[in-house]
C-alpha cells in the first residue's frame, strides 16, 4: 500500500469527521424532501408517534444530556466512527469469505 493511497484513506476519515462534527451543527434544519411532502400533502400523521425501535442511543442525532449542537457533534463523532468500523468489519468478513470459495 503506497504512501499516497494511505494519505487518501486518512484524509477521507478526517474529512468525514470534520463534516460530521464541525459542519453538521450548521446543517439546514428544515424537513427533508419526503418529510416536507408528507406535511404538505397531509400524510405526515401516518408516521408512528414513536419509532418502533425504541433503543436508539441517540434518536434524531441528539441526546437528552447534551443540548443543542453538542448533541449533534457527539452524534456525528460516534456515528462516523461506527460507520467506519462497521464498513471495515463487513469488508474484512466478506474478504475472508472470498478465500474459501
Amino acid at each position: 500500500m503506497n504512501i499516497k493511497w494511505k494519505w487518501l484513506l486518512i484524509g477521507g476519515v478526517l474529512v468525514s469527521l470534520f463534516l460530521a462534527i464541525v459542519v453538521s451543527p450548521y446543517a439546514d434544519e428544515n424537513p427533508d424532501g419526503l418529510e416536507r411532502i408528507a406535511e404538505d400533502k397531509g400524510f405526515a400523521e401516518a408516521a408512528s408517534e414513536e419509532p418502533v425501535w425504541a433503543n436508539a442511543p441517540m434518536p434524531d442525532y441528539a441526546h437528552p444530556s447534551f443540548g443543542g449542537s453538542s448533541g449533534t457533534k457527539l452524534a456525528g463523532l460516534f456515528g462516523t466512527l461506527a460507520a467506519l468500523l462497521a464498513g471495515l468489519f463487513i469488508g474484512t468478513l466478506l474478504k475472508g469469505k472470498k478465500k474459501t470459495t
Binding site: K4, A20, E29, G33, R36, I37, F43, Y61, L84
Partner: protein
Amino acid sequence: MHIPDGFLSNPVAISTGLASAGILAFSLKKASRKLDDKTVPLMGVCSAFVFAAQMLNFPIAAGTSGHFLGAAFVSILLGPWISCAVISTVLILQALGFADGGITALGANILNMAIIGCFIPYALYWSINKALPKNKGIRAFSIFATGFISVISAAIFCSIELAVSGTAPLEIVLPAMVGTHALIGIGEGIITATAISVVFSVKGDIGSEVIKLPSTAE
C-alpha cells in the same frame, strides 16, 4: 428520504424487506470477490464519509432541505456491489443508532437507496462511458448524471411504496417527490462529481485495479 415507521403498509414493508434481504445477500456475495487489502479500507472510509455527508442537509426550496445520498459516489469508486453493502450499512446504523428511518421501513429504505440507488445509476454510468467518446467532459457529465439519477430513481420507488401502502395517492406523491428530488439530484450530481475528481486526482499512483472505469476495463 428515509421512510419512518407507519408510512408503509405491512405487505409493502414485508415484501420490500424480503426483496432487499435477498438482493443484499447476493450483493454481499458478489462484493466479496472484489474485496482485498486495498478495497476493504476504502470501504470503511466510504461508509464513514457517507454517514457524515448524510448529516449535512442543504436548503433546496423554501422550508425544504435535501441531503447527499452517496450511492453514486461509492458505486463509481468501488462498483455497485460494494456500494450496496456500504449504503445498507449506513442505513442500518442510522435506523438502529439514531432512529433515522423506521426499523419497519428498513427493507424499503435499503431497496430504494442502497439497491435502486446503486445499480440503476451504475448501469447508466457504465453505458454512457461505453457508448460515448472518452474525454473529460463526457466523464464529468456521466458522473453528474449518475448522481442525479440515483436520487430520482430512489424517489420514484419510494413514491410507489407510499402509494401501494395507501399512504398517499400516486398522482400526488410521485410528481412531488420527483420534483423535489430533481433539485436534490442536482446537488448530488455536483457533490459526486467534485468528490470523485478529488479522489481521482490522487488516483494516479494508486493502481487502476482499485478504481476501474468501464472504458479502461482490464
